[in-house]
């Protein structure tokens, strides 16, 4: 069922894999990020240029945020969380370009992000304190709470995906419905609100991943 042209559509398919337009938008977003980073890091110097300064400010802000929450070396997770923050932030804002669908308004994209977050939580937990030490945090207060820990592992991942998906889809939907009702200028304030929501949701996604990682590590200290 095609409604408002808002949901992902298949463009072409490779064998059984269907490539939707949200996937191609994600590729374009990735290409844009890589191009920006390549162009602004070509001539690095002690006396930074304008773009180099912007990138350094972004990295310092990420390092500071992580240092406040994680009791470890922040550069262990800066690559992961930096990727999540920047890629999700750019993807959320990509929907503001006319004719482009928001990649994160597709449940498959957000579930992919949430699965990365879910698996990296375990990987970082195991690499920092060993398999035995990591498994120990499941019986934290008592053994009785083990099933609840296991349920929470699944539900918090699903919640992470559905939260991002719902926020982005609702923003697009409000814009389209208002466009159908009132026309020209009224949707603009809602689009401004959508920019803020997109940035906050990208931040929230990263911070929650960080909190989950820290929750798996906290037992040692």
């Amino acid at each position: 069922m095609k409604v408002f042209n808002l949901f992902p559509e298949t463009i072409f398919s490779i064998g059984p894999v269907q490539i939707t337009d949200t996937v191609t938008t994600t590729w374009f977003v990735m290409a844009a990020i890589i191009t920006i980073c390549y162009l602004s890091t070509r001539k690095l110097s002690i006396k930074p240029s304008f773009f180099q300064e912007i990138l350094e400010a972004i990295f310092e802000a990420m390092e500071k945020t992580i240092k406040d929450i994680l009791p470890l070396d922040p550069w262990l997770v800066v690559p992961l969380l930096g990727t999540l923050w920047i890629l999700i932030g750019f993807s959320n804002l990509a929907g503001l370009i006319p004719g482009v669908k928001t990649p994160t308004a597709d449940l498959n994209t957000t579930f992919a992000f949430a699965f990365i977050s879910f698996s990296m939580t375990h990987v970082i937990g195991i690499t920092t304190q060993g398999l035995k030490g990591y498994l120990k945090h499941y019986k934290e207060p008592t053994w009785i709470l083990l099933p609840f820990h296991l349920i929470a592992e699944v539900t918090r991942t699903v919640a992470l995906a559905v939260r991002l998906f719902g926020n982005m889809l609702s923003g697009d939907m409000i814009a389209i419905i208002l466009l159908g009702i009132v026309g020209l200028l009224v949707p603009i304030p809602f689009s401004l609100l959508h920019i803020i929501i997109g940035l906050i949701q990208a931040y929230i996604f990263g911070v929650l991943t960080l909190v989950f990682i820290a929750g798996g590590i906290r037992t040692k200290s």
Binding site: V162, G166, I204, V207
Partner: protein, 88 residues
């Protein structure tokens, strides 16, 4: 009134109720969270950074309940699984 009409009209009513009831609780909770955070910031302005960070994360967690209601309403409206039982 055949069965399909009943299912569709009940679905529309259910989607409206989902958004109304599902939006009420989170709206009250968000208001309370913001009030308390502003209260705490007014009392201790030097702790505002920590309070704001906790506020953003907490607000996202509260808001996600409203988002679940929204997703359920979308499923009811656009991808209703129950119509499949009636329209073979």
């Amino acid at each position: 009134m055949d069965a399909k009409t009943v299912v569709i009209s009940v679905s529309i009513l259910a989607a409206a109720l989902v958004m109304a009831i599902g939006g009420y609780g989170p709206a009250k909770a968000l208001g309370k969270a913001l009030t308390e955070a502003l209260d705490a910031t007014a009392r201790q302005p030097e702790a505002s950074d920590k309070i704001m960070r906790a506020l953003f994360v907490g607000m996202a967690l509260i808001e996600s309940i409203a988002i679940y209601a929204f997703v359920i309403a979308l499923i009811i409206l656009f991808a209703n699984p129950l119509i499949g039982y009636i329209v073979k």
